[in-house]
């Protein structure tokens, strides 16, 4: 089911790329490279497991959606060309 809006936000520049969030994500909704990370918006169900798992508080939950956040850069990564 498509989401009304994404509520999970990865604070830019703070991530350490450890993969703890990917390990708990039941939807395979996080793309993680050596030094790039993004939520795959059309898979995310806003379950918040990644928010709890993040050792560094890099992933935030915003009930009102992330679209309005000044730091939010919409990224939907399904195709490698998007890198």
């Amino acid at each position: 089911m498509p989401l009304p809006h994404l509520m999970i936000h990865i604070v830019p520049g703070k991530c350490d790329f450890c993969g703890c969030c990917v390990g708990v994500c039941p939807e395979d909704a996080i793309e993680l490279m050596e030094s790039k990370i993004a939520i795959i918006e059309d898979r995310c169900t806003n379950c918040r497991k990644c928010v709890w798992a993040c050792p560094w508080e890099v992933i935030e939950f915003h009930r009102e959606g992330v679209g309005h956040l000044p730091t939010h850069m919409p990224q939907m990564i399904n195709e490698p060309t998007a890198y």
Binding site: C18, V24, D28, P55, E57
Partner: protein, 388 residues
């Protein structure tokens, strides 16, 4: 059908390198892909291993040993501590050098290694998995192989793409933060573990000596507990209080799947090894040696499978792993479940009971017997380890 390689190993940590090494020595044409630009870096680990664990695979070498340890200290929530007598010794590693040496051993057996190679999907043909899609130095490349070994760590996705559910339950995932600190004055032959609801609920905090006044200080706590307070906050509070004058050389995040081995570790022509397969000792969170054992069995069986041309033979990997360590990890998991239910008072009681044991008899077993007073059903789990 033409294949570029017999076996592709995704990930060049200890499990991946060991899988590549044994697959190559078994006669297979092997390619190992690592997403980072370097093998062994960044280090996301406490870096401690036992001597008997490591010598199965590589001769101890001072260049990757930061310190040799013969003791460990368990610190209860009330600050009292007990130092059990141990048989044998262990090492605190320099993982960046250790991992590199393991990759070299794989290369020496003929495995090819490519770094900065990110696997973003499996390659399929007629519904069958025939290789991987990868970005090698940002260039899209398809590589074909008969068997894929997923050694892609806690963040494993290869298994998921192959249809294996590798998601770790948040109760079992340990959210970790780690620092290398300088200016730490401690005995350099002792590993320290701190327990308690205020220190690291559902896990522990470690201080491991790395020589020359430096230490690997880290924490792992259950994600369930981390909902209220994150790993880095717990660690920072501990460091501020205990080592206010230490300088921080590095800090890093991590995750450890402290679960039973994944219920499925073989599917079609894909196998999982190491953290990707949850081949971690659920009590200690240690996964270097167990991941290497998984990698060794996986690599050997994969090479045999290629030679026989019979994919069914891959199932042998799951059987051998279960026989070697899988069954043990199931029991360790039950022990973990019991211990993680202990609150501060219980842990203090256990420490007090252990301190009443005469020093020369103060073994790990003795401490465990003290724990049994608080949780008698633990005996059943331990009995299973020794009976089978």
């Amino acid at each position: 059908m033409k294949f570029d390689y017999d076996i592709i190993v995704v990930g060049a940590g200890p499990a991946g390198s060991t899988a590549a090494r044994y697959a190559a020595s078994g006669g297979a044409k092997v390619l190992m892909l690592e997403k980072d630009r370097d093998v062994g870096y960044p280090v996301r680990c406490g870096e401690a291993v036992s001597h008997e664990g490591v010598v199965q695979f590589i001769k101890p070498d001072p260049k990757w040993i930061a310190s040799t340890v013969t003791k460990f200290r368990l610190v209860a929530p009330n600050g009292k501590s007990v130092v059990p007598k141990l048989d044998g010794s262990g090492y605190v590693l320099e993982r960046r050098i250790f991992d590199y040496e393991l990759a070299k051993l794989a290369a020496n057996e003929g495995a090819e290694v490519i770094t900065k190679a990110y696997v973003y999907d499996l390659l399929r043909e007629d519904g069958k998995i025939v290789g991987v899609k990868t970005l090698i130095k940002d260039k899209q490349t398809e590589i074909r192989a008969k068997v894929i070994i997923a050694a892609d760590g806690v963040e494993s996705r290869v298994g998921k793409w192959a249809g294996i559910d590798t998601t770790c339950h948040i109760k079992d995932m340990e959210s970790c933060a780690q620092m290398t600190l300088s200016g730490i004055h401690m005995d350099e032959d002792i590993l320290e573990f701190y327990f308690g609801d205020n220190v690291s609920p559902g896990g522990y905090l470690w201080v491991f000596p790395k020589g020359n006044g430096t230490a690997n200080v880290g924490i792992g706590l259950s994600v369930e507990a981390a909902k209220k307070k994150s790993a880095i906050r717990f660690l920072q509070e501990f460091v501020d209080k205990k080592y206010p004058h230490a300088a921080m050389l590095t800090h890093i995040a991590g995750g450890v799947p402290c679960a039973k081995t994944n219920s499925e570790i073989v599917k079609g022509n894909v196998i999982l090894v190491g953290d990707a397969a949850h081949q971690v000792n659920p009590v200690s969170g240690g996964g270097i040696i167990s991941g290497m054992i998984g990698g060794m069995i996986g690599g050997q069986v994969a090479a045999e499978t290629v030679q026989r041309g019979d994919l069914m033979h891959l199932q042998e990997y799951a059987r051998q792993w279960q026989k070697r360590l899988g069954w043990r990890h199931e029991i360790f998991y039950n022990i973990k479940e019991a211990i993680s239910g202990f609150h501060d008072e219980t842990l203090n009681d256990i420490c007090n009971s252990a301190l009443q044991i005469p020093e020369e008899k103060r073994s790990l077993g003795g401490i465990f017997r003290a724990a049994l007073w608080n949780k008698p059903s633990l005996i059943l789990d331990v009995a299973k380890v020794f009976v089978s």
